[in-house]
């Protein structure tokens, strides 16, 4: 459940970019990783508290995502996606090569447990409570953004950006803000992940991880909070389900990927909007 409460915000925040704004970014795992490394490095090496590491991680991620958005916004459609692919490669390369800071391929071990006003959060139930607050906060944030005029405008940008521009809107700034909000939520998810697993390594934040999060929102349905929540639950809980029906772990792991693929193919044929989606590109 803790992993679900981390991945649901990841899916919700990616859906803001892909489903609501129509920008197909595959850089999401990079921002997730940035938050995770920020917490790992700041709490372990510099003795920051968990919460101050989250704040600093978000600030760093917001700044980096702002700069990247400015660069990527010059690209359109497929080229944007390819550009974001470049971003995830750069993140991976930095995570693996800045060995003095990130521990390189070995990663960072023994990340301290979060500390909340002197209370050490070491039990799963406390951690679940904390990550659930984060998940509910993200749901509330997404609801607020989508219900505002901003939410309407980004969806109009998704449908026809030029038609929004001629009404005088600076559409590039709207897209940048969406990207920064989404990346910041991903960074917080990364911080929770690092604190929960107490270990980070570059392999957790690769292109594959971005595709996994993308799979969640496509299965659940784009531009739908319900879809993002369902998609994340489904993708995270499927391996448990396979284990529950008695399949050995080694087979379940491989079968899981094949099942995701089969479901995606089926949905593209029969229901391209996903299960609860309101939009298909």
């Amino acid at each position: 459940m803790i992993v679900c409460s981390i991945f649901i915000p990841l899916a919700l925040s990616l859906d803001l970019v892909v489903g609501r704004t129509g920008i197909l970014s595959i850089a999401h795992a990079g921002f997730y990783g940035l938050g995770a490394y920020a917490t790992a490095i700041l709490t372990k090496t510099y003795n920051f508290s968990f919460f101050s590491s989250i704040i600093l991680g978000v600030l760093i991620t917001a700044f980096v995502s702002y700069l990247l958005s400015k660069i990527l916004s010059r690209l359109k459609g497929d080229y944007y996606t390819l550009g974001s692919f470049g971003v995830i490669i750069i993140f991976y390369s930095l995570f693996i090569n800045l060995t003095g800071l990130t521990g390189g391929a070995m990663g960072i071990f023994s990340i301290p447990n979060p500390n909340f006003f002197g209370l050490q959060i070491s039990s799963n139930s406390w951690f679940l409570l904390m990550s659930s607050v984060f998940m509910l906060g993200t749901l509330a944030l997404m609801q607020a953004v989508i219900s505002s005029r901003f939410g309407l405008i980004i969806q109009a940008v998704r449908d026809d950006e030029l038609a929004v521009k001629v009404f005088g809107y600076d559409t590039a700034s709207f897209k940048t803000v969406v990207f920064v909000i989404s990346a910041s939520v991903a960074a917080i998810a990364g911080s929770f992940y690092a604190a929960y697993i107490s270990f980070v390594s570059p392999n957790a934040f690769t292109f594959n991880e971005s595709i996994l999060i993308l799979t969640m929102i496509i299965i659940g349905g784009l531009a739908s909070k319900r879809g993002a929540v369902f998609g994340a639950l489904f993708v995270i809980l499927l391996p448990e389900l396979l284990r529950f029906i008695g399949l050995p772990d080694s087979i379940a792991a491989q079968l899981r990927v094949a099942i995701y693929g089969a479901i995606l193919m089926y949905l593209m044929y029969k229901k391209p909007t996903g299960l609860f989606g309101n939009y298909s590109p």
């Binding site: 505002s148 901003f150 309407l152 969806q155 449908d159 030029l162 001629v166 009404f167 005088g168 939009y279």
Partner: protein
Amino acid sequence: MKTINLSHHFGGVQALNNVSISCDPGKITGLVGPNGSGKSTLVNVLTQVLPKMQGEIKNGDHFARTFQDAKLWSNLTVRESFLVAQRKESWLRAIINFSTKKSISDAEEVIDKIGMSEYTHTKVRNLSYGQRKLVEIGRVLSASNVETLYFDEPFAGLSSTAIPLVTKLILEEKKKQKAVLVIEHDMDIIRSLCDHVYVLDAGKVIAEGSPEDCLASKEVREAYLGL
């Protein structure tokens, strides 16, 4: 709105060649000409869809427009489309603002005007071609703080009952002292609607004046009607 010697080219093709026109408040200006004469290019430059290459545009910043091929927000409802079109905002204002009762009632007033009340909450993608054209026109009528309205072939594809409705709506904008520019091929509509007409051919203004005088001129009949 006024242009002085506006020019635009696509590669080696001169789409607009020293075009000087004006569009005055409380007047409906017609823009006619054969296909490829530069009418839509002119409106695209005036509305910053295309960059201005040469020449000057005066008082042209506050506008709303329709497109020859309707460009709509197909996953929004009719009402949501009008709410977006109502007023431009920065991202910061937009993120802390929700649609107010006043803005919703303004949007619904326009929906009522275009006769689409029963489609208020219908997604635009589920409307017919004619209804979509009406939504695009309604979106322009929803826009506040605009001085110039551009309609690019607003009557194309409309039913015989919708044409008088749109004519009436455009005339209402004239009464509100808006400057209106209409691109249209139907000369009867041009005659009944416009106060002043410009005729474009091969990117140049070849005639201007009242609809009757302009459309009667020999040069225009040769260029436009092939007579």
